[in-house]
C-alpha cells in the first residue's frame, strides 16, 4: 500500500500534525488547550484513516471520538478545572524524579519500537512480496469495476460495505456485548456522578456519612429528617 504522489504529501502533513498536536496536548498548560490539541490530533488521525481507505472508521472517529468523547471531556474540564486559571502557575508536571524516569523509559521504548517496526517490516515485505503483487492486479481489476462517484474523479469503494458485512456477520455477538457495555457505562457514570443530596434523596447513603454531612450542610439535615420518617 505504498502511497505516492499527493497522498504521500498529505500523509506527511497530517502525520506531522498529529504528532505535533499530541505533543502539545501533553505539554499544554491550559487544560482546554490540551483538549483542543487532542481534537486536532484526532482529526489528523482521521485524515490518515482516509488515506488508508478506511472511510467509515474515519467518520466514526470524528463523530464518536471527537464529537462525543472530546465534548464530554470539555464538559468535565469546565466542571472541575475552573480554578486552575485563577491559581495561575501551578506546576503541571510531576516531580522531576518521576518525569526523568518516564522520559528515559519512553525513549528506550520508542527506540525499541522503531527498531522493531523496521525489522518487522523488512521481514514482512520479504514474506509478502509475491502476495502483494498478486493481489495488486486483482485489486486494480476489481477497482475498475467499481461504480463511479458523483464527481467522476473517483469510484465509490466497497470498504464500508465490507466493514458492515463483517461486523454484522462475524462480529454480531461482540457488537451486542459492546452495546451492553455502553449501557453499563451509562448507568455506572450516572451512579458515580451523583451528589450526596441526590444519593440521600434515594436513600442510598450510609447513615453515619449522612450524619457527618448533615452537620455541615443544613439541606442534608432537612433530607435526613424526611428520610427518618
Amino acid at each position: 500500500m505504498i502511497l505516492s504522489g499527493w497522498e504521500s504529501v498529505f500523509f506527511w502533513i497530517f502525520s506531522i500534525a498529529a504528532i505535533f498536536a499530541a505533543l502539545l496536548t501533553v505539554m499544554a498548560r491550559n487544560t482546554i488547550h490540551s483538549a483542543l490539541f487532542l481534537i486536532s490530533s484526532l482529526v489528523s488521525v482521521a485524515a490518515l484513516f482516509i488515506l488508508l481507505r478506511a472511510e467509515f472508521i474515519a467518520g466514526v472517529q470524528i463523530l464518536v471520538y471527537v464529537g462525543g468523547v472530546m465534548v464530554l471531556f470539555l464538559f468535565v474540564i469546565m466542571l472541575v478545572n475552573v480554578g486552575s486559571e485563577e491559581r495561575g502557575s501551578e506546576e503541571i508536571f510531576n516531580r522531576s524524579r518521576q518525569v526523568t524516569t518516564s522520559v528515559i523509559f519512553c525513549a528506550l521504548l520508542v527506540g525499541g519500537l522503531l527498531y522493531a517496526i523496521n525489522v518487522g517490516y523488512e521481514g514482512l515485505q520479504k514474506r509478502d512480496e509475491a502476495a502483494v503483487s498478486a493481489a495488486a492486479e486483482q485489486r486494480t481489476a476489481a477497482d475498475q469495476n467499481l461504480p463511479q462517484a458523483a464527481t467522476g474523479s473517483s469510484r465509490i469503494t466497497k470498504e464500508t460495505e465490507r466493514v458492515g458485512a463483517g461486523l454484522y456477520r462475524y462480529g454480531s455477538l461482540p457488537f451486542e456485548i459492546a452495546s451492553v457495555l455502553l449501557l453499563v457505562a451509562i448507568i455506572g457514570s450516572v451512579m458515580l456522578a451523583r451528589t450526596l443530596k441526590q444519593e440521600a434523596a434515594v436513600d442510598d447513603t450510609a447513615p453515619e456519612i449522612l450524619q457527618r454531612e448533615a452537620q455541615h450542610d443544613p439541606e442534608i439535615a432537612k433530607l435526613q429528617s424526611t428520610i427518618a420518617q
Binding site: M1, I2, L3, S4, S8, W12, S15, A18, I19, A22, T25, V26, T31, A35, L38, V45, L52, R53, A54, F56, I57, Q61, V64, Y65, V69, F73, V76, V80, S84, E90, I92, F93, N94, Q98, S102, V103, C106, L109, L114, I117, Y121, L124, D128, A134, A135, R139, E159, R162, V163, G166, L167, G171, P174, A185, G188, S189, L192, A193, T195, L196
Partner: protein, 139 residues
C-alpha cells in the same frame, strides 16, 4: 504548481540528495516520497509514546485521561494500517482490523464516560484535580 513541483524542484532536490552522503540521503528521500506501512506504524508508535509520556508525567487528571485517549488512538491507527496492508496482500480477513477499531472506539467512549464520572466524584470529595494529592492508598 504541480508542474513546478514535480518537474523542477523534485529533480533538483533529488540531485542534491544524490550528491550527499553517498546517496544515502537520496535513498531516504526516495523512501520518504513513498510512505508505506512502516511509516504508518512509526507514526502510531510515536503517538503511543507521547501518550505514555503524558500519562506518566502530567499532574492534571484530565490531561492524563486525554493522554490515554491518545494511546487508544495510536492503537487504532495501527489496526487500520495493518488492515490496509492485509488488504493489499489479499487476505480475506483484512476487514477485521477495522471492525476491531470500531470496538476500540466504543470501549474508549465507555471508559471515558466512567472515568470522568469518577473524576467528578473525586473532585466533589477532595476538591482537587492534581493527581499527586490523591495518594491515600499508601503506607
Amino acid at each position: 504548481m504541480q508542474f513546478l513541483l514535480f518537474n523542477f524542484l523534485n529533480p533538483a532536490f533529488g540531485m542534491l540528495l544524490q550528491a550527499g552522503g553517498n546517496g544515502r540521503f537520496a535513498i531516504a528521500w526516495e523512501k520518504a516520497q513513498h510512505p508505506d506501512l512502516s511509516k504508518f506504524l512509526i507514526i502510531g508508535a510515536l503517538l503511543f509514546i507521547i501518550g505514555v509520556a503524558g500519562v506518566l508525567t502530567r499532574r492534571n487528571i484530565i490531561v492524563i485521561f486525554m493522554s490515554i485517549e491518545l494511546i487508544l488512538n495510536a492503537a487504532n491507527l495501527n489496526f487500520i494500517a495493518m488492515s490496509r496492508y492485509l488488504q493489499d496482500t489479499g487476505n480475506v480477513n483484512a476487514v477485521a482490523g477495522q471492525i476491531f477499531a470500531v470496538f476500540v472506539i466504543v470501549v474508549a467512549a465507555a471508559e471515558a464516560a466512567i472515568g470522568l464520572g469518577i473524576v467528578i466524584a473525586l473532585y466533589r470529595n477532595k476538591e482537587t484535580i492534581w493527581v499527586d494529592e490523591i495518594d491515600i492508598l499508601k503506607w
